[in-house]
């Protein structure tokens, strides 16, 4: 089980803006779609019921016709403090079998003049050894990782 926890992603940032504004970037789908995926990919927010059990469905499209469909569900919303969502359920807590199983917990607290933003993203153990994804699937992603990481550094 220790191994499970070590695979949880914890992403922490000190955002130089008040908490109300960080909250707005998440709670306003018109703003969320601006940062959800890298340009020139675009995000379509197909459902955004910002309450516990509400549907959260994003659909991303790329310039050459590629797409990524990600239905999900909000589990918990505490205004200006916490957002919990999962891909394992859709709106109304209806069970789903997503291509990518995950639950994400986003928290925000005041820190100095800004906001401490922490996203914790959890994946099931099965995700890494799922038999239906052949070895090649993961190897294929490797090229992607390097490029995404390089890109992330240019944003800092």
């Amino acid at each position: 089980m220790a191994d499970l926890e070590s695979r949880d992603l914890v992403i922490s940032r000190l955002v130089r803006a008040p908490r109300a504004k960080v909250w707005k970037a998440w709670s306003d789908p018109g703003l969320l779609k601006q940062w959800w995926c890298p340009k020139p990919w675009t995000t379509e927010v197909r459902a955004f019921e910002f309450h516990s059990g509400g549907a959260f469905h994003t659909y991303m499209s790329g310039p050459d016709g590629g797409s990524s469909d990600n239905p999900g569900c909000f589990l918990d919303i505490v205004p200006q403090a916490r957002i919990v969502m999962t891909s394992l359920l859709t709106g109304g807590w209806r069970p789903a079998t997503p291509w990518l199983a995950m639950t994400a917990i986003v928290t925000m607290v005041d820190e100095g003049e800004g906001t401490r933003y922490v996203a914790t993203v959890m994946h099931p153990d099965e995700a890494t050894k799922d038999k239906h994804e052949a070895m090649g699937f993961f190897q294929g992603w490797n090229t992607c990782i390097d490029q995404l990481e390089t890109f992330a550094q240019t944003l800092r």
Partner: protein, 117 residues
């Protein structure tokens, strides 16, 4: 920056599509000729070739021709499945969080400049 963005878009495009993920999955079993690779997919060959070409341009796969047979293979790197997978998820969320921070800080600055922080 522009070049990295182009690369990123290519790989993102290449692997977000379900057909292309299936192709990459099939190539995980080893190098395969285009005709064998195309067989399980219910689509015209030109459409299938288009998918291969997207994967190849992104650097996810490479292909070589011997006589009339074109063979595709993955361009693997030495990372374990679990490492690769989790690192990829990390990259998605790191870049996403960076974009979110940048947007919030920009909007905040604009409000500040207008005199209503």
């Amino acid at each position: 920056m522009a070049n990295q963005l182009t690369q990123l878009t290519g790989v993102f495009s290449a692997l977000a599509d379900p057909t292309r993920r299936a192709i990459v999955g099939a190539l995980g079993r080893g190098p395969t000729s285009v005709s064998v690779l195309a067989e399980p997919f219910d689509m015209a060959l030109p459409s299938f070739m288009k998918h291969l070409s997207v994967l190849e341009r992104s650097g996810v796969i490479r292909s070589s021709k011997s006589g009339r047979v074109r063979t595709c293979e993955l361009r693997p790197k030495p990372l374990s499945q679990a490492e690769a997978w989790i690192a990829r998820q990390r990259a998605v969320w790191e870049t996403r969080t960076d974009r979110m921070s940048a947007l919030v800080e920009q909007l905040h600055q604009e409000d500040f400049d207008r005199g209503r922080p």
